[in-house]
């Protein structure tokens, strides 16, 4: 891995530990949440309350996969949630933890 890789290019690895990015705020909404990144000023939306719970719980689990299990995401729903998390990783709304 070269040092020139920016966080945006880091591929999403469900086995890795993640968290909501430190410069990101979540605002609860009836359908889920609005996500705002104070650094790049990007706005995004979490379209389900379970996804909100997942993003908030990422930091408490050893991996994204473990978080999905803990939040009750079924096997059938997993691909959709992993894709949503990959999108959030690409837009820097969630970031890799280095503690594990």
């Amino acid at each position: 891995m070269t040092t020139a890789v920016s966080p945006a290019e880091v591929a999403f690895d469900p086995a890795a530990p993640w968290r909501r990015a430190r410069s990101v705020a979540l605002r609860p909404e009836p359908f889920g949440a609005l996500v705002y990144h104070f650094g790049n000023r990007k706005l995004s939306f979490l379209k389900s309350k379970t996804l909100v719970a997942v993003v908030e719980a990422l930091a408490d689990h050893p991996s994204a996969s473990a978080t999905l299990v803990a939040c009750g995401v079924t096997q059938a729903q997993r691909p959709a949630y992993e894709k949503a998390l990959a999108d959030l990783a690409r837009s820097q709304m969630i970031e890799r933890r280095t503690d594990a």
Partner: protein, 411 residues
Amino acid sequence: MTALLPPRPTTPAERPVGGRLVDQFEYGLDAPICLTWELTYACNLACAHCLSSSGRRDPNELSTAEAEAVIDELQRMQVFYVNVGGGEPTVRPDFWHLLDYAIGQDVGVKFSTNGIKLDKARAAQLARTDYVDVQISLDGATAEVNDRVRGTGSYATAMRALENLAEAGMKDFKVSVVVTRENAGQLDQFKALTDSFGAQLRITRLRPSGRGADVWDELHPTMAQQRELYTWLLANGDGVLTGDSFFHLSAFGEALPGLNLCGAGRVVCLIDPVGDVYACPFAIHENFLAGNVRDEGGFQRVWQSSELFADLRNPQTGGACTKCAHFDACRGGCMAAKFFTGLPLDGPDPECVQGYGESALAARDLELVTPRSHIDHSHSGPVRGQPTLLGIPSIPAKICDESPLAGIDLR
């Protein structure tokens, strides 16, 4: 007050679970995504199409302390940024203080200005400040086209401000254009001009709001120009900001980049200089007044509990447009555009690209008096360099520019 809104179910419809974001937005949010806040009605210019009929300061405008309280509230509600405008916001003596205060409270500011106060020092200050965006208003890619609407000298003022921002190394500043019949052919020129400053182009729709009502017939783009604009946006739209301005053009076929929904009272609103909260910046009229930030419960109560906003968050169920094949694309268009041209709110937008707007306008009762806002802060006397669009002779910048004897009463 809400009798004029299109037919909606008497009991509020239940918000769907999941589905498209645009459908969720229709039911409103707990706080606006962003809102427009006009800090003052005072303005050094007298643009012919001013949507807020600005000119003179209102003696009842929010004080510095009251404005700070609004910012505190926006922070609590997690409104992450506001669009600040006016009038000309920078003529408020506490403008720079309020800008810093908002940023300090995590409320980002994007402000619109004609550039009058953006000298080199202010440009450098802005370039150093994170979390602030500047939009310079320009309604012609040439001085000739711009100044006819915005007033003599306003093009030069905007260019000086743009040069100062570029020279100071400001990033991501915007050139903000209202598309008119007179500048619709200049889109490529606007893009080139904007690019030359390293800025970004933002284009919005002319509304018949404020003094815009007086010039709308003359200035709103023709159907052919709307078609060209649509084609241009499809080709260039990703690099150009439009907000929710042109969703009515989606009925030409493809959805345009940006929000294809009327956000009024659902995801956006306006706080005017005296603290009145309207459904949108183009709807300064008592019919669209939801409350005042000075009322008990402040802005949050107005946003979350006003009867008007609750009504707007109840999706439209009846009316001519809901039966149209394009309703899902354009959603009936702009509420303010219909209202101020005297059209019913559940019918077509006056600029409906399927042509229903033209026939609706033609079918208006000849006796019809279009609604007018009672809020008017227009300058009461002549303004230096005022726009020539209305056929009013402009006041020469110096009286002697025209004739040494001009304006002198020799009796």
